[in-house]
């Protein structure tokens, strides 16, 4: 007899399959973008392509002006990386509410505690992100640990979804794999939303707009070395398990997961311990990408530090020369620098003495 907790397929095989599906989508992304557009249009929705998040915000602003809407509500998916900020600003500038959600375990503690009912019912446009976009039906999947996204899509007359174009999955049933990997438990609300409300339905949006966002993704797609980053489903497992990325703070991984990935001071913080690679449900080789990004960073930098390390590398490869330079440093150390005086004997000297 099968016990309820028993998996018929191991988690390793599920991850393998999930990574395979994501790789397939990325390798055929132009096809799936067009398929999504076709299906959304078939369900009386609109598809808009935006090159930057500003373009997306401009579209929402123009839509609000055209429809005479003063109030917006919104809920973001972390699928939008750091682009959420611009959306949040636009919505909050209209004295409306904005909740944010993360599907994975690392939900930020600072998000709005609740939606005000009046605010929700007054809002003419609800803006949400999407965890996944499903190419076979043009639906978006919101996986959230609260219900802000679901509410924002149900109550206002217009539902606008902003989704990164890498979040497409070919079929709805692919969710069977991805929902298991998104977090240990099912997110509270998993909504599959498509198009405007059907003619016989009593509520739901009268208009559905899907904004597919490039925002540096096509450039990342062209970068064979870092394309893998687009497999990310923003589950947060790597951040949760990273020993040097404190929850809710920037760290080596947050810089890597930005779009485009940023080379910055935190990048050097990672110990490359590999925990993130082990927990990643779509098998992204994050340590390799960290090293690649460090290399970019190093190439972009020059000056005395580069030269210092070149001299160091030269010496390290020549043990005799290395020992002699150590000896010279110890003998010619200025007496005035007392505090930082090097040890009187080098490690290699001590080693030889102990061995005899």
């Amino acid at each position: 007899m099968t016990t309820p907790s028993q998996r018929m397929v191991g988690i390793a095989e599920l991850r393998e399959r999930a990574a395979g599906i994501k790789k397939h989508v990325l390798a055929n992304l132009d096809h799936y973008l067009l398929e999504t557009e076709k299906q959304v249009t078939a369900h009386a929705g609109h598809v808009v392509f935006a090159q930057t998040i500003d373009e997306a915000v401009d579209y929402i602003r123009a839509l609000a002006r055209e429809r005479g809407v003063d109030h917006l509500v919104g809920a973001s998916a972390t699928a939008l990386a750091d682009e959420v900020g611009a959306l949040r600003q636009e919505i909050e500038s209209r004295a409306s509410e904005f909740g944010s959600y993360l599907a994975g375990p690392a939900a930020p503690p600072d998000r709005a505690a609740s939606f005000e009912m009046e605010c929700l019912l007054e809002a003419g446009i609800g803006v949400t992100g999407a965890s996944f976009v499903l190419a076979d039906t043009g639906a978006v999947c919101l996986a959230e640990n609260d219900d802000f996204g679901c509410l924002s899509s149900a109550a206002p007359k217009i539902h606008v979804v902003v989704a990164g174009m890498e979040s497409i999955l070919p079929r709805t049933r692919d969710l069977a794999v991805f929902l298991r990997l998104l977090s240990d438990r099912f997110p509270h609300h998993i909504s599959l939303l498509s198009g405007k409300r059907r003619d016989d339905e009593m509520d739901g949006p009268d208009e559905f707009h899907l904004i597919l966002l490039d925002g540096g993704r096509s450039a990342l797609l062209a970068d064979l070395e870092k394309r893998e980053l687009l497999q990310c489903i923003r589950c947060g497992a790597c951040l949760e398990n990273c020993p040097v990325t404190p929850a809710g703070h920037p760290g080596a991984l947050t810089q890597l997961l930005s779009l485009p990935p940023l080379a910055g001071p935190f990048l050097a913080a990672s110990t490359l311990c590999g925990t993130c690679r082990e927990v990643c449900p779509v098998k992204i080789d994050l340590p390799r990408l960290l090293v690649a990004l460090r290399q970019d960073h190093r190439l972009a930098r020059s000056g005395w530090r580069t030269w210092l390390f070149r001299v160091w590398a030269f010496l390290m490869q020549r043990p005799r020369l290395y020992e002699i330079s150590g000896l010279m440093i110890r003998s010619f150390w200025p007496a005035a620098w007392k505090g930082q005086r090097p040890a009187t004997k080098s490690f290699r000297q001590l080693w030889r003495e102990r061995k005899n």
């Binding site: 099968t2 309820p4 018929m8 397929v9 399959r17 599906i21 397939h24 390798a27 055929n28 992304l29 132009d30 096809h31 799936y32 973008l33 067009l34 369900h43 808009v48 392509f49 935006a50 373009e55 009912m117 019912l121 039906t137 043009g138 639906a139 219900d147 679901c150 509410l151 899509s153 149900a154 109550a155 070919p170 079929r171 709805t172 049933r173 969710l175 069977a176 794999v177 438990r185 099912f186 997110p187 509270h188 609300h189 998993i190 909504s191 599959l192 939303l193 498509s194 409300r197 059907r198 016989d200 339905e201 009593m202 509520d203 739901g204 490039d214 096509s218 450039a219 797609l221 062209a222």
Partner: protein
């Protein structure tokens, strides 16, 4: 236009031609446990209770009415037009509103009601989830706005998991604008009544 520029950039990045057919991709893995009916009920109950919801079992339709009446306790309630609710006599309970003249009336009623009573398209035993689908009978706001949500579902609608659901209904978004898998009460009170 952004559309063509983005599509062109993607094609250039991938080295693909316009309208080139996609390569063959891997299929998802759908897993079902083949549980017996009683195993499903047991699993559903324990999963939903673990998530913070409540479960009652009603041996017959007439019992459902009693349970619901007790849960509503005279508070203002809205109910959907699902046939099972009418069959159980819930729509005729005092203080339960189930017909709405239009969308505005529905929004207003849902915003002021304490209890929302609906059925569900199916239940998922593995995770203790309820699956709600928007339709002519089931408006979405009934389950979203009132702070208490009561769900009345016949036992035969109890599936094993999302995999079985996606197997039965591979494209749920085609026939309804909203299909929602709700797991646990969230900031609401969730009560599921299983009807034998």
């Amino acid at each position: 236009m952004s559309r063509d520029a983005i599509l062109q950039a993607v094609r250039t990045a991938l080295g693909r031609k316009p309208f080139q057919k996609p390569s063959a991709g891997p299929e998802p893995i759908l897993q079902v446990h083949n549980w017996t009916a009683s195993e499903r009920v047991e699993q559903f109950q324990s999963a939903l209770v673990a998530a913070g919801g409540q479960v009652s079992r009603a041996p017959s339709m007439s019992h459902v009415r009693e349970i619901v009446e007790e849960l509503v306790a005279g508070r203002p309630a809205v109910a959907s037009l699902a046939p099972i609710l009418a069959e159980c006599g819930i729509t005729s309970l005092a203080g339960v509103q189930s017909s709405f003249s239009g969308t505005e009336a529905l929004r207003h009623a849902c915003a002021s009601a304490t209890v929302g009573i609906t059925s569900a398209w199916c239940l998922l035993a593995e995770t203790g989830s309820i699956v709600l689908r928007a339709s002519a009978e089931e408006p979405r706001l009934l389950s979203l706005l009132p702070p208490v949500h009561i769900v009345v579902v016949p036992l035969r609608r109890l599936l094993e998991n999302a995999d079985e659901f996606f197997g039965l209904l591979p494209q749920p978004a085609d026939s309804s604008s909203a299909t929602v898998l709700v797991t646990g009460p969230g900031r609401r009170t969730l009560h599921v009544i299983l009807v034998e």
